[in-house]
């Protein structure tokens, strides 16, 4: 036991030295004001929302909406800080807002809530103006979601829109020229990275298995080429970065 205690003491010293490598400077009052700013609260839902400057990679995605009511031209689907606790909100950015300009295109306001808070999802603009939100990670238990929901630009509401064949996050979703949506790769929220792909039929809204990648990957890119093929580049395979591309 004395030996254990001696090691524990050395460990505590080392861990403190290790942790002190990170800078901890903070403007406490500025941070407090940002957190307490009532303009970042969505009173209608009793939830909190943030300006888009707090959106971050992997926690949100944006899609342009060409015709949203009168003149809104952009919408951003953002998982607010706090995820499951705070809910997920859609912020619509109106280009015709007072004082809007190319540099300052207006402000964001709440435009509905997802039925399930998620991050690492995709948002795909469909030809009919709806935005299809696919999969993503649950903040509650860390598992990926298989649920899909659609945001309606008329009602500003989300509704269930089917289920993936495999719950996944970190995938890509590519709108094909015939209206189908190709979902590629991703991971299960744990260590399983998918090589599988699935496709959504626009008529039925259901997903079915598509071709399988030669190399499992998540957090890759998928680009629709002019000839209808989809170029898949890079990503993560669970152990390292993927250096190859596939079509």
């Amino acid at each position: 036991m004395p030996d254990h205690n001696a090691f524990e003491s050395r460990l505590a010293d080392a861990m403190r030295r290790y942790a002190q490598r990170v800078p901890v400077d903070v403007d406490a009052l500025a941070l407090a004001r940002e957190i307490a700013d009532p303009s970042t609260h969505d009173a209608g839902h009793g939830r909190r929302w943030w300006p888009l400057r707090n959106a971050r990679t992997g926690m949100g995605t944006t899609r342009a909406i060409p015709d949203l009511g009168a003149a809104a031209v952009a919408a951003a689907l953002v998982v607010a800080i706090g995820g499951a606790l705070l809910g997920a909100l859609l912020f619509a950015q109106r280009a015709d807002a007072p004082g809007a300009s190319a540099d300052q295109p207006g402000t964001f306001s709440p435009a509905g809530s997802l039925t399930a808070a998620r991050e690492g999802h995709t948002a795909t603009l469909l030809p009919d103006g709806r935005v299809l939100v696919i999969g993503g990670g649950s903040r509650d238990d860390g598992h990926a979601l298989g649920s899909v929901e659609a945001w309606d630009p008329v009602s500003f509401a989300f509704s269930p829109a089917g289920s993936l064949t495999a719950a996944r996050e970190g995938h890509t979703a590519t709108l094909l020229s015939d209206g189908r949506v190709l979902v590629i790769g991703g991971y299960d929220g744990g260590d399983q990275v998918f090589a599988s792909a699935e496709v959504r039929d626009p008529a039925s809204g259901s997903f079915s298995a598509a071709a399988t990648l030669q190399h499992a990957r998540s957090n890759h890119t998928a680009t629709l080429l002019p000839d209808g093929r989809v170029l898949v580049v890079g990503g993560w395979d669970g152990t390292g970065q993927v250096g190859e591309a596939a079509i």
Binding site: H4, F7, E8, R10, L11, A12, D13, A14, M15, R16, R17, Y18, A19, Q20, R21, V22, P23, V24, V26, A28, L29, L31, A32, R33, I35, A36, R48, W50, R56, T57, G58, I81, G82, G83, L85, L86, E119, G120, G137, R139, G142, G170, Y187, G189, S218, N219, W236, Q241
Partner: protein, 176 residues
């Protein structure tokens, strides 16, 4: 460390929307929240992000704090949890990480101080939950009762977990 009365007043005032009281809490606890997050996630940027996210969550829940003397363990637990969440996703999105700080030379001093390069390598063998618990104990200096309260465990459960994780770290360090 704030005394009990001051801590209680600050928590109550911050929970009622007082920005200055919240700033005092941030001044008092932010550093330890970032450090604990750093042990969990091993990335400076993600650690700072985790602590900031933790404040946003804490701000909403401050009114539920029943024992202001335990607010530090409560805040650190939230920060460690946010770091764990970011670690799980960050590892798949990180392209490359370059240490700006030159590695410290290995020390062979009589007191047997653990080399930080070896420690960092050993910590990567533990999962983020385990690193979070170690950070709460050895970086923040919380006792097993406070940790248990923050994590919803028993104090004896915390002690047995810590003993197990320390043994694993020791094994890893012995291999270095």
């Amino acid at each position: 460390m704030l005394d009990t009365d001051v801590a209680g007043t600050l928590v109550r005032r911050a929970a009622s929307g007082d920005e200055v009281a919240l700033a005092r809490l941030i001044t008092e606890h932010h550093a330890q929240m970032v450090r604990a997050a750093y042990v969990v996630v091993g990335d400076v940027q993600l650690a700072r992000e985790a602590a900031q996210d933790a404040w946003a969550i804490a701000w909403q829940r401050l009114g539920t704090v029943r024992d202001p003397t335990r607010v530090r363990s409560w805040l650190v637990a939230i920060s460690a949890n946010e770091a764990r969440r970011l670690a799980r996703r960050g590892r798949r999105q990180r392209i490359a990480e370059i240490a700006l700080e030159p590695p410290q030379p290995r020390r062979d001093d009589p007191a047997g101080a653990i080399d930080l390069i070896d420690l960092e390598r050993a910590l990567t063998r533990l999962d983020p939950d385990e690193r979070g618990l170690l950070a709460m104990r050895y970086v923040v200096g919380l006792d097993s009762t406070d940790i248990a309260h923050a994590l919803g465990l028993t104090a004896s459960g915390v002690r047995s977990r810590l003993a197990r994780f320390v043994d694993r770290l020791r094994t890893e360090l012995d291999r270095a």
